[in-house]
């Protein structure tokens, strides 16, 4: 099988095709109306088709003329490539300049990308399960339990799941972080900001 020259283009293109088609098909269920009096389905149908077409174009481009991956594709916040990497002084060999290993959890060892970072040319290969699933689960847990369990238990669970997202984090440490976050949230949101949220929900008899 022909391999795409840019998986980023392929993935993005397929997502757009899928979502575009979904919107277009969904729109068919609504009244389309006419040009004079557009119904609720008109705009979503047209734009869904446009999105799918753009997706196809991006997929085709993935095989024919991909974006020159490293350095070309810009990063989340925008014009990452505007400053050529060479111009960003990272002090020669930044990775060797991590100060003392003792500060294993300090800023020094925290890897935080900059906008000069080059995205992975093979995005899906670069997506790790643990952080992605854990963060999704953490936020999802809050959504599903905040009404039933109440603010504090939901916060605890979310904090625990989120803390576990980082590869290498042990359960005990994650538990400590979760407890700390629950206490902090209680102080900030319930005591200081006085938000009227149920601290414990119906499921717990609160």
């Amino acid at each position: 099988m022909l391999r795409p020259r840019s998986t980023g283009d392929l993935v993005a293109g397929l997502i757009f095709v899928g979502l575009g088609a979904a919107f277009a098909i969904g729109a068919l269920g609504y009244d389309l109306g006419s040009l004079l009096e557009m119904g609720p389905g008109y705009v979503p149908l047209v734009l869904g088709l446009v999105l799918a077409a753009l997706g196809v174009a991006i997929v085709v481009k993935a095989y024919v003329a991909p974006d020159p991956a490293p350095g070309e594709v810009s990063d989340a916040a925008g014009s990452g490539r505007a400053v050529p990497d060479a111009e960003v002084p990272d002090g020669g060999a930044p990775d060797t300049e991590v100060p003392d290993a003792a500060a294993s959890d300090g800023v020094a060892s925290d890897r935080v990308p900059t906008d000069a970072d080059v995205p992975d040319p093979r995005p899906l290969a670069g997506i790790q399960w643990r952080p992605t699933v854990a963060i999704f689960a953490a936020v999802g847990f809050f959504a599903l339990t905040v009404d039933g369990l109440g603010l504090l238990p939901a916060t605890f669970g979310t904090g625990l799941l989120a803390a576990m997202a980082r590869p290498g984090t042990r359960v005990l440490r994650a538990l400590l972080i979760a407890v700390g976050l629950t206490l902090t949230s209680w102080i900030i949101f319930a005591v200081l900001l006085q938000l009227r949220l149920a601290l414990f929900g119906d499921w717990l008899g609160g």
Binding site: E37, S74, S79, P94, D115, V146, R166
Partner: protein, 502 residues
């Protein structure tokens, strides 16, 4: 004189003690979150937005948000200078020379220059805003649906033309944003669209949930995926005040950057990011010793920092006069307006003068507070940088959840955060930018509404968009912008403009 009356009204509003307090609180909070590594102004505002929703007085809420914006921006520069960790690409430029200055023991001077430059630029840009806004708003009042539709199209297209990265993907992200904006009840017929029978979705996707997901959660996922270290904390910040010579050195760059930034800030899609890059390029070109750039040139800090602050201020112009957010931050501000029950646009100027002028005046006050607050507190901000990331990111996740939920106690909003966090992350990884999606989402309903209304008024005649002169001109401009972006030859030149070569 009108201008003075307006400013007087604004200052009397903004100087009420509670508004000053909210401004101060906003600046402090914005700096505190903005200083955290890897979080840029957009993410900061998205995360802090929910705090302001409980306010009864919209003026206070917006003043606080504006304060958060400047604070976040300044916080971003602080990390860029001290850690070489720009939270957003506008600060990436500051990092180049700012961090070199810090390594040479001039961190204090670099931070002070950034603050002084921002203050001067902010002051001038506030005046520009005060002068330009009423004029534009008056012109905008004559706009009909066709004009508005064309204006939104122009804004969306221009935001691609001025941004970098793949144009096809940016276009697709805009379209996806508009489609997501169609969720909820159709405004003409009341038909619920794409709600899957869920009542909570009738009002549409929550804008804050989308922004928190795409900018906050996706950003955390990105940080968790990139195990790279390039941080060296410069912990000692001494000698804040620049010398006389240094002050003379930065006078030119600050003034040039202010002009440049004020101009670029008004353009859609450009905003503060484009302004910083352009200013850096200009300063390097006019400098007598360009070789110093990249090795701690003070002009390389003063210019971009002033430019991005000026642009931050003037990018309020399209929002306040036309109701068009020029960049994601303004899209968030527009969202805040709407949640406060105010539709941003030309009418706001005449109907709520106290609010608009209070906001404008508070921008200047915010800049003063920024200088007063941040320079003495540098030590505190530096200490915040030592919070380990393993504690920091779960905290951000938790606060994002609680904040989003507290908006309207709707768990579906939080679910949307989860979905758009992961979707946004995958799209970002695939080389798509989240900003166009957010712009499309905010402008989409405006686009559809005006399209349908214009066609209704013209009895279904689609030529109305080109036969009405203003609308025609706007669409022609949009077409030119699109062609310029697509043509590969010009496209390559555009890259040269961005990537100033040595």
């Amino acid at each position: 004189m009108d201008l003075l009356d307006n400013l007087a009204l604004g200052f009397s509003e903004a100087l009420q003690w509670h508004n000053v307090l909210f401004c101060l609180l906003g600046v402090a909070l914005g700096t505190a979150v903005g200083v955290l590594p890897g979080i840029g102004p957009t993410a900061t505002i998205a995360l802090l937005l929910p705090i302001t929703f409980g306010f009864d007085d919209p003026t206070s809420a917006l003043i606080m948000l504006a304060g958060i914006y400047y604070g976040a921006q300044y916080g971003g520069s602080t990390t860029a200078i001290l850690l070489n960790l720009p939270g957003e690409s506008s600060a990436a430029v500051t990092a180049i020379d700012g961090h070199e200055m810090a390594r040479a023991g001039r961190a204090g001077v670099a931070l002070a220059v950034a603050a002084i430059g921002s203050f001067v630029a902010g002051t001038v840009a506030t005046v520009v805003l005060a002068v330009a806004a009423p004029v534009l708003a008056r012109a905008a009042l004559s706009f009909g649906s066709a004009e508005y539709f064309s204006l939104v199209v122009l804004g969306l297209i221009a935001s691609i033309a001025l941004a970098s990265g793949s144009m096809l993907k940016a276009l697709a992200m805009i379209v996806l944003g508009i489609l997501l904006g169609t969720l909820g009840q159709d405004m003409y017929t009341g038909t619920p669209r794409f709600t899957f029978g869920v009542r909570e979705l009738y009002q549409g996707l929550n804008f804050v949930a989308l922004a928190v997901g795409m900018f906050g959660i996706a950003e955390i996922l990105r940080n968790l995926h990139d195990p790279r270290t390039r941080t060296r904390l410069v912990s000692r910040v001494t000698n804040l005040w620049p010398s006389r010579t240094e002050l003379r050195q930065i006078a030119g760059p600050v003034l040039r950057a202010t002009g440049l930034g004020s101009l670029l800030g008004v353009l859609p899609g450009g905003g503060h990011v484009l302004a910083s890059y352009a200013s850096y390029a200009v300063e390097k070109r006019v400098s007598r010793n360009p070789s110093e750039f990249g090795h701690g040139a003070i002009e390389g800090v003063a210019g971009p920092e002033s430019a991005n602050n000026a642009a931050a201020q003037t990018s309020f112009i399209p929002l306040l006069t036309l109701g068009l957010p020029a960049n994601p931050v303004m899209a968030l501000m527009a969202g805040a307006f709407i949640i406060q029950g105010i539709t941003p646009g030309p009418d706001v100027m005449t109907e709520q003068p106290a609010l608009v002028w209070g906001l404008i005046a508070s921008m200047w006050i915010g800049n003063v507070l920024l200088v007063l607050l941040n320079l003495p507190l540098i030590g505190l901000w530096v200490r915040m940088l030592s919070v380990p990331y393993s504690v920091l990111f779960p905290a951000i996740v938790v606060f994002a959840c609680i904040g989003t939920y507290s908006l309207s106690q709707n768990p579906y909003d939080v679910l949307a955060v989860a979905v758009f966090g992961v979707l946004g992350f995958v799209l970002i990884r695939s080389g798509c930018e989240p900003a166009p999606l957010l712009l499309g989402f905010v402008l989409g309903p405006l686009l559809e509404d005006n399209l349908r209304r214009a066609l209704l008024l013209s009895r279904g005649d689609p030529t109305v968009f080109v036969t009405r002169p203003i609308s025609g001109v706007l669409l022609a401009l949009a077409a030119v912008a699109l062609v310029v972006t697509v043509l590969p030859m010009i496209r390559r030149k555009r890259d040269v403009v961005f990537a100033e070569d040595d």
